[in-house]
C-alpha cells in the first residue's frame, strides 16, 4: 500500500539532452517506502536514462533528485549508494569469478570499508560474512555460498544481484529489468522476493513483463519518447486511453 509520508526519493523535472536530442524530458517521479513503483515504456522511451540519472551514473541536464530530504543531484553514484540507494542492472552485474558468498561479502564491505586494516584477512571478515549469509538467505540462495558465481543459472544470478544490492542495507532500490530472461518459475520466485522487500523498502521497478508489473506494482508510470504520459495506480493505467494507444495496444 502506498505510504502517505513524504517520498524517500523524489525526482523533479529531470531531463537529459544528448547533442540536441532529448532522451528524457521533464520527468518527475516519487518513491515511497512500502511501495513498488513500476516504470514501463517502449524501447527508447528513456527508462534506462532515467534510472542512470537517479542512481548517479549520469548527470541530468535539468532537474533535481532528492533522497531522504538531501539534494543529491550532484552526488556521485558511490556516495548515493552509501546513503542508502541501491541498484541492479539490466545486464547481470556480478563478480563472476568469485564465489557467491564473496560476491555478497564484498558488497557488504562497502558499508564498512576500512581499507587501511591490511593485516586483517578479508576471509575472516565476520561482520561481512554474517551480512552475506543473511542476504543470500533473503534472496533465496541459502546454501549456494560456495559456488563460483559464473556457474549459477541465469535466474539465480539475478537473485544474487538483488542479494548484493541488499548487502549494504539500502532503503531504496532501483531495479532495472530484474526479470529479464527468466522463465515462469523463476519469475514467480523473484516477484515473491520483491513482495517480501516491499514493506521496508522504496522500490523502483523498470520492467517489460506486463503481467508481472500489474501483479506486483502499487503505482505505474508510463514513459513514451522520454516523457511521462501517465502515472497512476495499475487499475487506472489499464484503462487509460493514452496508454492503450501508445503502448498496450487494443484489447489489453
Amino acid at each position: 500500500m502506498a505510504d502517505a509520508r513524504s517520498p524517500l526519493l523524489r525526482a523533479q523535472g529531470l531531463g537529459k539532452r544528448f547533442r540536441g536530442l532529448a532522451a528524457v524530458d521533464d520527468v518527475s517521479i516519487d518513491l515511497h517506502v512500502g511501495e513498488i513503483h513500476a516504470v514501463i515504456g517502449t524501447n527508447g522511451a528513456g527508462k534506462s536514462t532515467l534510472v542512470n540519472m537517479l542512481s548517479g551514473e549520469l548527470a541530468p541536464s535539468t532537474g533535481e533528485v532528492r533522497f531522504a530530504d538531501h539534494d543529491v543531484t550532484r552526488w556521485s553514484q558511490p556516495r548515493r549508494a552509501r546513503a542508502g540507494l541501491g541498484r541492479s542492472y539490466q545486464r547481470t552485474t556480478i563478480f563472476g569469478e568469485f564465489s557467491v558468498l564473496e560476491n555478497c561479502r564484498l558488497a557488504a564491505q562497502a558499508s564498512e570499508p576500512r581499507p587501511w586494516l591490511v593485516w586483517e584477512r578479508a576471509a575472516h571478515d565476520a561482520r561481512g560474512l554474517a551480512v552475506a549469509e543473511r542476504v543470500l538467505d533473503a534472496a533465496g540462495l541459502a546454501g549456494e555460498g560456495g559456488r563460483i558465481a559464473a556457474t549459477l543459472s541465469h535466474g539465480a544470478k539475478r537473485q544474487l544481484e538483488i542479494a548484493m544490492c541488499l548487502a549494504t542495507a539500502p532503503r531504496a532500490l532501483l531495479l532495472d529489468e530484474p526479470l529479464a530472461g527468466m522463465g515462469a518459475e523463476e519469475t514467480g520466485r523473484m516477484l515473491a522476493l520483491l513482495a517480501s522487500l516491499r514493506p521496508t523498502h522504496a522500490i523502483l521497478l523498470v520492467e517489460h513483463d506486463m503481467d508481472a508489473v500489474f501483479k506486483v506494482a502499487d503505482r505505474i508510470t508510463v514513459m513514451v519518447n522520454g516523457r511521462v504520459i501517465a502515472s497512476d495506480v495499475p487499475e487506472r493505467i489499464r484503462i487509460d486511453p493514452a496508454v492503450q494507444l501508445a503502448y498496450l495496444g487494443d484489447g489489453h
Binding site: A107, R121, A123
Partner: protein, 344 residues
C-alpha cells in the same frame, strides 16, 4: 570461503584467470618459502657470476611483483612502470656522495621519490580509462626519460656512476655493506621475500579484495558504494614505491644508472615478464621474471645460437608473438592445464 570441491577445472578454465583470493595455489605458502630457502643456500653451490645472475633476476622479480599489484590485482595496464624503477635508481645515485651514503637515507628516499611521482602520474592517469590509460602512463614515463636523458641534472645519455656502494651503520657498527657481494645477495633476497609477503598480505586484505572487485566489475563496486579511484590510486602508488626499491637495488648492483632504465623497452619488458608467468599470480610474476631474463640471455648468447644471437630482437619478438598467441595465461596457466590433464 570458496572451496575447490565441486568446481571443475573446466569451469575455472572458462572463467579465465582467477585471482589469488579464495583459491589456494598448489602448496599454499610452503612452495614460495621453500624456494626462498633454496635461493638462500645457493651461494654455497654456485659461482660469483651465477650469484650475479640470481641477484639480477631477483631484482627484476621485485619489479615484476610491483607491477602485478596494478595489472594483475587491479586490472590496470600501465606501460610506464619503468619510470618508477628509474626514479628509484636515479634518486639513489644522485643522493650518494663520493663517500657513499647510508641505506637509512637512501631506502626511504628512493621509495619516496618513486611514490611521489606515482602519486602525480596516477592522479592524472586515473582520470582516463582503457587504452587512454595505457597511452598516458607511457607518456608520463617518457617525460621522466627525457628529464634523465636531456637535462644536466639527469646526467645525460651516458648516465651517472655510483662509486661507493651504500652501507648501513648503526652505533659505529657496519651492519650492512652493499659493496660486498654476499651482503648484496642476501639484502636483495630479503627485499624480494619482504615484497612478496607484503603484496600477498595486501591481496588477502579488504583492500586487496576491493581491488580485485574493481578489476572484475568496477561498475558493481561503485553501485555498492565504493569510491573506486582512491583504491586504484593507492595501488598505483604502492606499486611505484616498490618499483623504486627495485631501482635502488639495481643502481647498487650495477654501480651505475642510465636513461634506458626509464625507457619504454623496460616498461614493455616487465609487462612481458608478467604475461610469461601468468597474470593474476604472485608466483607467476617471479616465474615470469626468471623466464624472461633467462630467455633474453639465451637469445643473446653467441655460444648457443651463433650468428642468430646478434638478431636477438627478431627471435625474442617472434617468441613473444608465439607465446602470447598460444599461452595467454602464461606458464602458470600451462601448469594448471597440465595438472588438470593429469587428473584426467
Amino acid at each position: 570461503m570458496a572451496s575447490d570441491a565441486g568446481v571443475s577445472d573446466a569451469v575455472i578454465a572458462d572463467v579465465g584467470a582467477l585471482p589469488d583470493i579464495g583459491r589456494r595455489e598448489a602448496g599454499g605458502w610452503l612452495v614460495p618459502a621453500a624456494a626462498a630457502l633454496v635461493v638462500a643456500a645457493l651461494p654455497l653451490a654456485i659461482s660469483p657470476y651465477g650469484q650475479d645472475v640470481v641477484v639480477r633476476i631477483a631484482i627484476y622479480a621485485i619489479f615484476a611483483l610491483s607491477l602485478e599489484l596494478i595489472v594483475g590485482a587491479a586490472g590496470l595496464v600501465s606501460l610506464g612502470h619503468a619510470a618508477f624503477l628509474g626514479i628509484g635508481a636515479y634518486a639513489t645515485v644522485l643522493a650518494s656522495s663520493d663517500s657513499g651514503a647510508s641505506l637509512a637515507l637512501l631506502v626511504p628516499l628512493a621509495i619516496g621519490a618513486a611514490a611521489a611521482y606515482a602519486l602525480a602520474v596516477g592522479a592524472l592517469s586515473l582520470r582516463t580509462r582503457g587504452v587512454y590509460f595505457i597511452m598516458v602512463t607511457l607518456a608520463f614515463a617518457q617525460m621522466a626519460y627525457f628529464v634523465a636523458h636531456d637535462t644536466k641534472a639527469g646526467g645525460g645519455s651516458d648516465g651517472i656512476f655510483l662509486y661507493i656502494k651504500p652501507t648501513l651503520v648503526v652505533a659505529g657498527l657496519t651492519l650492512v655493506d652493499l659493496g660486498q657481494r654476499l651482503h648484496l645477495y642476501y639484502a636483495v633476497l630479503a627485499a624480494l621475500v619482504a615484497t612478496y609477503a607484503f603484496i600477498a598480505l595486501l591481496l588477502g586484505s579488504r583492500f586487496g579484495h576491493a581491488l580485485a572487485g574493481i578489476r572484475v566489475n568496477e561498475q558493481r563496486m561503485r553501485a555498492a558504494g565504493f569510491a573506486t579511484t582512491p583504491y586504484k590510486l593507492a595501488a598505483f602508488v604502492i606499486a611505484g614505491a616498490l618499483a623504486g626499491l627495485a631501482g635502488l637495488l639495481l643502481a647498487v648492483k650495477d654501480g651505475a644508472v642510465n636513461p634506458e632504465l626509464l625507457s619504454w623497452h623496460e616498461s614493455g619488458a616487465v609487462l612481458l615478464m608478467l604475461i610469461f608467468g601468468g597474470i593474476g599470480s604472485l608466483r607467476g610474476a617471479v616465474i615470469g621474471a626468471v623466464a624472461f631474463t633467462l630467455l633474453k640471455e639465451l637469445f643473446q648468447s653467441e655460444a648457443l645460437l651463433g650468428p642468430l644471437a646478434s638478431h636477438w630482437q627478431l627471435t625474442l619478438g617472434l617468441t613473444i608473438i608465439a607465446f602470447v598467441a598460444a599461452l595467454p595465461r602464461g606458464l602458470i596457466g600451462l601448469g594448471a592445464r597440465l595438472r588438470g590433464a593429469a587428473r584426467g
